[in-house]
Point group: C2
DNA sequence: AAGTTGCATTGATAAATATCAAAGGGCTAC
DNA sequence: GTAGCCCTTTGATATTTATCAATGCAACTT
């Protein structure tokens, strides 16, 4: 619980100042391994500084010209797509070290909205300049390709979730995914605050908010988790995982 | 109807021989505009020749080492993801000019299966070499990024479909998407053969095959389309489109 | 040409999730 | 500190889609 509270208070990072990639504690998440000092300096030079956002602020909106991708330095975001007829699909939740904005590369226009779900901070990475530099630094180029490919693979996972899973399976997968990502960042995998509403979870999972709420309640009744509003505590990770493997569940 | 029959017979392309990109009639789909003759020659040199696949053959399988991406020269493919517990999600259908295999870049291992749904032919594009060349030809590099970004945007569209649409809306969106893609390739947008089974359509759309079949039947009863097994004829494209915009439908 | 084998259609019923409705709780902003 | 608002929970009912089952159709094989 303590660890995650960090996300809810003012970031400790030097306010308003550009933090060099070489000094950033997220560099293992954002950058390729083994950059030389010189290449790192060139990259530092490329990054267009940081930008802070208050909760609820848009990082970019669908329809805006695409110029940069963004690395989340601190905080929490959602991306969503809106259609003319009012459909709204949350396509992802992004946390520290993850990259936002790659949807805009194909048409030079952003195709989704990115909104800060808590006070957050990002690095601006001007894309044309990133392409120029990556044509000179092979490991940087390859890393960019990996990041984009990873996003494609992640999207396939979401399709699997939406296409084949039932409500409780989707929610279990969602919680386990968050748990694993918090864990990878040094936070507790068992206890965290949700930054998004039930409705946003539901949009992401293809469910109505009431269905999400009921699934939370049932998980709690079964002793899998404890829920208090946005505060989640996972009590039995192994059993939560078995919800995702119905075949094994039947056999075991 | 005639135009599409081409896909069902032996390709007219010189059998077994490497066709240069510069000579390929799909180059507008695969390649950036305005490559110089010299750059085109270097690209021709890079492409590792073609590969023919019979219907049902795998182009690659999840778990195999990633080495190349593939451009569909002729034919029709599906990609799908399998999980240990037996879930199977079709993540896409690919036709001439589209790129396959980008999921493998992030881990150097393919994460899905690609299967030919009819006798097909692809170009092999060794990825490491493509990266090397693209660091020297800026427009090629940028084109690659656009192609990957387009895949991300497409995936977001599928999420929207799976997350917010009902069965008939999903099927209408699917048919209109196929229609538009056939049209872009010079085939009839109104009449075509489905290369996939009802079960594969259902997997892609997050529906059971019976639901797909019933939706087809209802569209036919309403005079929107005519269905005879895999032969589809769209009779009323505008009305099919209104199925996707319930808000407009109510207003008009 | 007939048999075999998927594939597709259709019907009846069951299960899952959405919708409608109401009330309670906690956070925010004043 | 408190009022208001949004978020969440929970219940009753409706709708959608899945499941189970049986038949029909068409292409491919022999």
């Amino acid at each position: 619980m303590h660890a995650n509270v960090k996300h809810n208070v003012v970031p400790l990072i030097t306010p308003g100042l550009k933090v060099a990639c070489s000094q950033c504690n997220l560099r293992e998440l954002c950058l390729p391994f083994g950059l030389s000092d010189e290449d790192m300096a060139r990259l530092d030079n490329l990054i267009g500084g940081g930008r802070k956002l208050k909760r609820g602020q848009h990082l970019y909106r669908a329809g805006e010209a695409f110029e940069s991708i963004f690395a989340v330095k601190a905080g929490f975001f959602k991306t969503d797509v809106l259609t003319e007829d009012g459909r709204d699909q949350v396509t992802g939740f992004q946390m520290a070290g993850e990259i936002l904005g790659m949807d805009g590369i194909s048409t030079e226009v952003h195709t989704c909205n990115a909104v800060a779900l808590e006070d957050s901070e990002v690095c601006l990475i001007p894309f044309t300049e990133l392409e120029m530099l990556s044509s000179e630094i092979h490991s940087l180029q390859h890393h960019l390709h990996k990041v984009m490919s990873r996003e494609i693979v992640r999207d396939h996972g979401v399709m699997m979730l939406l296409g084949t899973m039932r409500a409780e399976e989707r929610l279990a997968a969602f919680l386990l995914n968050l748990s694993q990502r918090f864990n990878a960042r040094g936070y507790s995998p068992a206890e965290f605050h949700l930054r998004m509403t039930r409705e946003e979870i539901g949009s992401y999972l293809g469910l109505k908010l009431e269905t999400v709420s009921r699934a939370f309640s049932r998980f709690q009744d079964e002793g899998l988790i404890s829920v208090q509003q946005k505060h989640i505590r996972i009590l039995d990770i192994p059993r939560l995982k078995t919800l995702l493997t119905p075949a094994d569940g039947r056999l075991g």
